[in-house]
Subunit: 254 residues, 2 copies
């Protein structure tokens, strides 16, 4: 288990993360698994972490704003928020519910169940006049990429989400294959034999956050390998990032 | 720059994290900086990440439940939520506002401004009959620990917080010294020259999450060294985790 950056890293109780070097600009139809496999040796316990943007581009989840005819609702929302009505229209098409629309911020619940700004629709690192949407089924995207990677590493697809009550964004997992996304501690005990109060750790979100630290936001390093979390890597693809979505009926912050 | 686990790790564009081995059970008055410095070689670009529990224990932020006389409000809340009234009393004393009290969950805003379950008051990994509170001023705690560490590494104090809309907890930063907690991208451009939509990254929260991945939740490994994020490490202590707190007036989810 050694990569270009972490040669000599023993992995005993530690974690390492490094970017996959030299990936080209990703276009519709590109085989991400093949592009990654050609650039980095992968082992079964590794996790390959991909920024959503490259997955969406490879899948063609890109909309030309010139082709978008905004609805009256989108026009009204865009006017109120100071946004492009065509972009708001794309956001509404990707959403099942507007959660907040205030102070220039549009937070919605996407069809996948994610609550985030602009339904994840983003113009940065996109071609002029286009916006990039989230993959239609990010867990399926993760499974497909995993199937193409030698050594069956886990795959996590990430996006940067804002949070209630805290400034700044953190990367979180929107698609997962082959990783325990949610590590449920219910029933486990602490060192003194008392029940652990933290009952579930969002492992895939913590992997997403770790990977983000080795990336430059300018978009040049969209794929990162995380090594040393093999205890969470599974042979089955598993329930994916869907297991991280809290259903609206259970949520205290609708 | 080499540690016991990551010997040979070059750090060029990559990240490594490993637990500090062999720490004793922490008691009131223990010198955490000295205990850490005796167990791991530290370099200026390193980040030392400590679980809140050991910092609180060293500072004596521990309450014996037998000494707590719950107020009528605490008794009523505890009854409604199925909690210990003395523990609820401690939570209320640590809080400036109850944000939600439903379905067995008590979410408050602490005096520091953090919104989290039970104001961070926790009985796991605590002595029988006691609960551990958050440090009174976690940024000051981080600065004090930093001052005692050779090589002036950055210091991050973490706790596990739940999130709105997502299952599971992630570790976040509640105290920071010597690290850019919030990396503000406002005005920066993407690879194509367009403004980046994600304007600020919660670097300290991502460091906290990365560190949590190398810890066992049973509490045996409360301190982790994160290496490779030296571009965010500063000589000044800086504004700390306070810069991650979104004031209630700015928040869309009161």
């Amino acid at each position: 288990v050694s990569g270009p950056v972490t040669a000599g890293f023993s992995g005993g109780g530690g974690l390492a993360a490094f970017p996959v070097p030299g990936l080209p600009e990703i276009r519709r139809g590109d085989d991400l698994a093949a592009l990654i496999a050609a650039r980095v040796p992968l082992a079964p316990g590794d996790v390959v972490v991909l920024a959503q943007k490259v997955v969406s581009k490879a899948e063609g989840a890109v909309v030309r704003l010139a082709d978008v005819d905004p609805s009256p609702r989108a026009v009204a929302l865009a006017e109120r928020l100071g946004k492009d009505a065509r972009q708001v229209e794309v956001v509404l098409r990707e959403s099942v519910e507007v959660v907040r629309a205030e102070r220039g911020v549009l937070i919605t619940r996407t069809a996948h169940g994610f609550v985030c700004a602009n339904a994840g629709v983003d113009a940065s690192n996109a071609d002029e006049g286009t916006v990039v949407c989230l993959p239609a089924d990010p867990d399926a995207s993760a499974r497909a990429i995993r199937a193409g990677l030698p050594g069956r590493p886990a795959v996590v697809i990430t996006d940067s989400f804002g949070r209630a009550w805290r400034h700044g964004q953190c990367d979180v997992a929107i698609g997962v294959a082959g990783l325990v996304a949610l590590d449920d501690h219910a029933g486990r005990l602490d060192a003194g034999g008392r029940p652990l109060q933290a009952t579930a750790i969002a492992v895939a979100d913590e992997v997403a956050a770790a990977a983000d630290l080795v990336r430059s936001k300018a978009g040049g390093e969209p794929v990162v390998v995380v090594r040393g979390v093999h205890r969470f890597v599974t042979s089955e693809d598993g329930p994916g990032a869907a297991s991280l979505v809290r259903p609206p009926a259970e949520d205290l912050f609708p």
